[in-house]
């Protein structure tokens, strides 16, 4: 029994023989030809076959993953018969007497390079498509077989990593799980695995040795463990764990497409918290209703210098277009405290949680803040955007921010850049100060989002990074619940809606309480959406609410 450890990117347990993905090996032949007409016809023949293959793949993708996935292959079809592409190949064959393979390869490289050098992220991405199309025609010309699975029984598929067209062509009924040496949680393999609901483990590196081919393997997509030739006891444990997971998943699967509504007809929105554009996929898989918190920090953390307006714009746009008309709430930069970044050159603070952080940094550095606001408003033309500001303690901060927004909008208008007029503005309620003046803040904004992690830390004077506080750190503390109740009341009086985006939102012990105090939205990690929906649908608020409200308001401390 050998255990190797990677990164689990799609949950579930898979067991079966390990099988290494086989790629067609093609060596590019290059020679001069005499009969240019025959060579041209040879290309036309291969092109026709490619068109047919791509048409079939588009249909297959449409059935398995919808119109968006089919688009990839339809784009490939258009490229394969593009006039410029064809003419370039024809010129190499007829004028330079090059063989069809070399002509296709050279033309593919040339077009890919053209796309790669474009000043547009979307078009840059098309370079990979041109290469993929050219490779397909090359394989047909040289008679190479497409890579695939040649096994009579389903297998755990191992590879370095798989290209999008490789994943879609796989016979899905033959795959129990994916195990790759490279890749990330956003690679095509991982996304496909999550869509298919099978386990995937990436980043195994050299540990994934081809000598394991054919051996019995157990993988756990939750922990990232890959066990080669497990002993009977371990195997039995995993069989049991797998049964439990499948039952749980079947239950949750039945909840997809259902409303987040209680037995007595009270509904509450369930949105998702995400940290990068790649997470949009997980929201779709888990049937989230929108994005309640998109942390923009990844842009700053993944960079060695301030991200440009264009970089930010592309990232926001990607999320907004990915979510269609569903609401997407993006939080402006929340740097400081536990998130430090070198190039911000923040002065060293004795107590950064109470120092220069979040909106305080943004307002102190207006040029930097404007860049983010411009990117956000430019992106607003592509979907249903809301913007919220972290770490608010005073009304003037909100007013100053809104002034900046107005001037940014004027600027965009003058430049002829489109933006939406329906961007909702919100503040995060994460300090006792903001909660106490929420009646006044409510007059300035469209919504509140309660960051319960910070709100609890500041209310209880308990550092959330400090693991030794034990029973002194009580996430269900009455003071926090009373603050939340007050915030909701002040908000609703002013027609403002309230969401919870802290970890407490997904805490199933708190769902009845949130419903009782009238919270409008809970924003949780994508995988918590369906368990939360399950919980909401089991509650009858006509039974639970009166007792909860009485207990919140009571001056009697329950006996423990």
């Amino acid at each position: 029994m050998i255990t190797i450890q990677g990164k689990g990117v799609s949950t579930g347990i898979g067991m079966g023989p390990l099988y290494f993905y086989r790629r067609a090996k093609t060596e590019l032949k290059r020679y001069t030809i005499e009969d240019t007409t025959a060579e041209w016809l040879r290309f036309k023949g291969a092109q026709a076959v490619a068109m047919e293959q791509l048409g079939e793949l588009a249909e297959k993708a449409r059935e398995e993953a919808g119109d968006e996935a089919a688009m990839l292959f339809e784009t490939h079809q258009m490229m394969a018969e593009d006039m410029d592409y064809e003419e370039a190949i024809q010129a190499l064959i007829t004028e330079e007497n090059l063989n069809a393979e070399a002509a296709v390869a050279d033309t593919g490289d040339q077009f890919a390079e053209m796309f790669a050098s474009m000043d547009d992220e979307y078009m840059k991405g098309r370079a990979a498509d041109v290469k993929d199309v050219s490779q397909r025609i090359l394989n047909i010309l040289s008679g190479a077989v497409q890579g695939g699975i040649d096994s009579p029984v389903p297998v755990l598929l191992a590879s370095d990593d798989l290209a999008p067209s490789e994943t879609i062509q796989l016979d899905k009924s033959k795959i129990l799980g994916f195990i790759t040496s490279y890749g990330s949680s956003s690679s095509h393999t991982a996304i496909l695995a999550r869509t298919m609901g099978i386990p995937a483990i990436v980043g195994l590196g050299d540990q994934l040795d081809p000598i394991y081919e054919g051996r019995t393997v157990v993988v756990d997509g939750g922990t990232g463990a890959v066990i080669i030739e497990p002993n009977d006891e371990v195997f039995a444990d995993f069989v049991k764990k797998r049964e439990e997971q499948l039952q749980q998943r079947a239950l949750l699967e039945t909840l997809k497409g259902k409303e987040n509504v209680t037995k007595d007809g009270k509904s509450i929105r369930v949105y998702c918290n995400i940290g990068s554009p790649e997470d949009v996929d997980a929201i779709k898989v888990n049937d989230g209703g929108g994005i309640g918190l998109f942390r923009s920090e990844f842009l700053y953390l993944n960079s060695s210098t301030y991200p440009t307006e264009e970089e930010q714009f592309e990232a926001y746009k990607a999320v907004l277009t990915g979510m269609g008309d569903k609401e997407v709430i993006i939080r402006t930069c929340d740097i400081g405290a536990d998130k430090q970044i070198d190039y911000f050159e923040l002065p060293k603070e004795e107590n950064p949680a109470m120092g220069m952080r979040a909106l305080r940094i943004s307002l102190s550095r207006p040029a930097f803040f404007r860049t983010q606001l411009r990117a956000l408003y430019r992106a607003s033309a592509y979907g249903n955007l809301g913007i919220m500001f972290p770490m608010v303690t005073s009304v003037w901060e909100v007013r100053e921010t809104k002034k900046l927004i107005e001037s940014v909008k004027k600027e965009l208008e003058a430049e002829g850049l489109p933006y939406s007029d329906h961007v909702e503005i919100g503040v995060m309620i994460e300090t006792p100060a903001a909660a106490m003046i929420s009646d006044r803040l409510a007059k300035e904004v469209d919504f509140f989002s309660c960051g319960t992690n910070d709100l609890t830390q500041y209310t209880l004077a308990c550092d959330r990074q400090n693991n030794d506080l034990g029973r002194f750190y009580d996430p269900h503390h009455l003071s926090v619940i009373r603050l939340l109740k007050m915030v909701v009341e002040n908000a609703h009086k002013n027609g403002v809606w309230v969401g919870i985006c802290g970890e407490l939102g997904a805490d199933l012990e708190m769902t009845e309480t949130f419903l009782a105090i009238g919270v409008d939205e809970l924003s949780v990690t994508p995988r918590a959406v369906l368990p939360l929906r399950n919980k909401i649908r089991s509650i009858d608020t006509s039974v639970t609410t009166p007792a909860i409200l009485a207990s919140i308001e009571s001056d009697e401390t329950p006996k423990y």
């Binding site: 688009m71 339809e74 784009t75 258009m78 490229m79 593009d82 006039m83 410029d84 592409y85 077009f111 053209m114 796309f115 474009m118 000043d119 547009d120 979307y122 078009m123 098309r126 041109v130 277009t321 033309a381 592509y382 002829g416 850049l417 489109p418």
Partner: protein
């Protein structure tokens, strides 16, 4: 030759899908249909060249229709732009 000006309203601009749809539509006619942005003119049938113009939302392009069926083609292509691009 007939021509018209058009301001793109598709939020992503003329990316792969609209470019492909335009090429397909243009094949219906005998006329040559060209699109011009910033003095650069490309035949609509040339998908990759069209994509490389990187026409964005809000930008104005000129479309030229030349050929024996240009009256019909002009109306058809204009309606197609208004509905899809």
């Amino acid at each position: 030759m007939k021509s018209f000006e058009y301001t793109v309203t598709d939020p992503i601009g003329i990316h792969a899908r609209p470019a492909g749809m335009l090429s397909k539509e243009a094949r219906k006619y005998k006329s040559t249909i060209e699109l011009e942005k910033n003095g650069k003119k490309v035949n609509i049938l040339k998908l990759m060249a069209l994509m490389q113009l990187a026409v964005k939302c809000g930008e104005t392009v000129t479309v030229y229709v030349t050929g024996e069926d240009e009256d019909v083609a002009f109306e058809g292509i204009k309606a197609f732009f208004e509905a899809n691009v």
